[in-house]
């Protein structure tokens, strides 16, 4: 550890509410990306679920908007230690998409425009735990935050909430996605502080 810098506090603020271990509260919404921001036209947007047998189910933007939406209020926990509480989203639960899909798979690989990927057990995106979210704070989701639509899986570290989501692949075998392949935990439970592969 270095010398202590007199008077330096960083952004850390004491939280009134309980946060997962190692997290700090933030009021900002940091924009962090692994690559260039894709520019996707809503009219051309599609969301595709491909089963383990290769069957593809596809939804257009119009179809997305016609599905019953929810307005979940959730806490976000980023592996870089910031937490943002009580964020309001509008989105369609993944359960609604999967209701039409026959699968015996246990895992999903989430695909995004731009090539980002993340992997999850299927049970972590069902049962009301995940949404395809297209609005934040009542406003259409901006490109820098993952718009037109991103995955929202708030019970895991925020890297699992893939921006610019384009679809899911249902898989029998688990395989690491982008950050999972670069040192981060395969699962990523903030309450058990599962940040890195060795945790």
């Amino acid at each position: 550890m270095g010398i202590v810098s007199r008077g330096f506090h960083g952004r850390a603020r004491p939280a009134q509410e309980k946060l997962p271990p190692g997290q700090y509260l933030t009021e900002d919404f940091p924009v962090l990306s692994a690559g260039p921001t894709p520019r996707i036209v809503r009219d051309n947007w599609t969301f595709t679920i491909t089963t383990e047998t290769g069957t593809a189910h596809r939804w257009t933007w119009q179809e997305l908007l016609a599905m019953p939406a929810e307005q979940p209020t959730v806490d976000l926990h980023c592996v870089t230690k910031w937490s943002k509480l009580h964020t309001g989203w509008t989105g369609v639960p993944l359960d609604a998409f999967l209701a039409d899909v026959e699968t015996a798979a246990d895992y999903v690989m989430v695909d995004s425009h731009g090539g980002y990927t993340t992997n999850l057990p299927l049970e972590d995106v069902t049962g009301g735990k995940a949404w395809v979210a297209y609005a934040f704070g009542g406003e259409p989701l901006e490109p820098e935050h993952g718009g037109p639509a991103r995955l929202l899986v708030p019970h895991l570290y925020f890297w699992k909430s893939a921006k610019w989501v384009s679809g899911l692949e249902l898989r029998d075998e688990d395989e690491p996605g982008f950050w999972e392949g670069y040192g981060y935990k395969n699962y990523g439970d903030p309450w058990r502080e599962q940040r890195y592969a060795g945790d």
Partner: protein, 89 residues
Amino acid sequence: MPSDNHVDGNAMGGLLMDAFGREMTDARGCCASCGSEHVMAELIVYRSGPGDVLRCPSCSTVLMVATPLPSGPRIYFSRLLWLAPKERA
């Protein structure tokens, strides 16, 4: 084209010097995807939080990812075909 939230390999100078034990911003590397050669300073760098993603300026392929593990930075080599530090006089 809208400017994205990226910098370049100059910003990775300290981390690379620490990892390789010498100045590396002028080291030349080759992209395994498109074959172009660039010095490290010219790589497009996304400081994304979980890690720094270093991309080929010609084709945007991920060449390296620097992850700040608790034990210290770890540099993953993705599609960097080769790396050649600059000859010293």
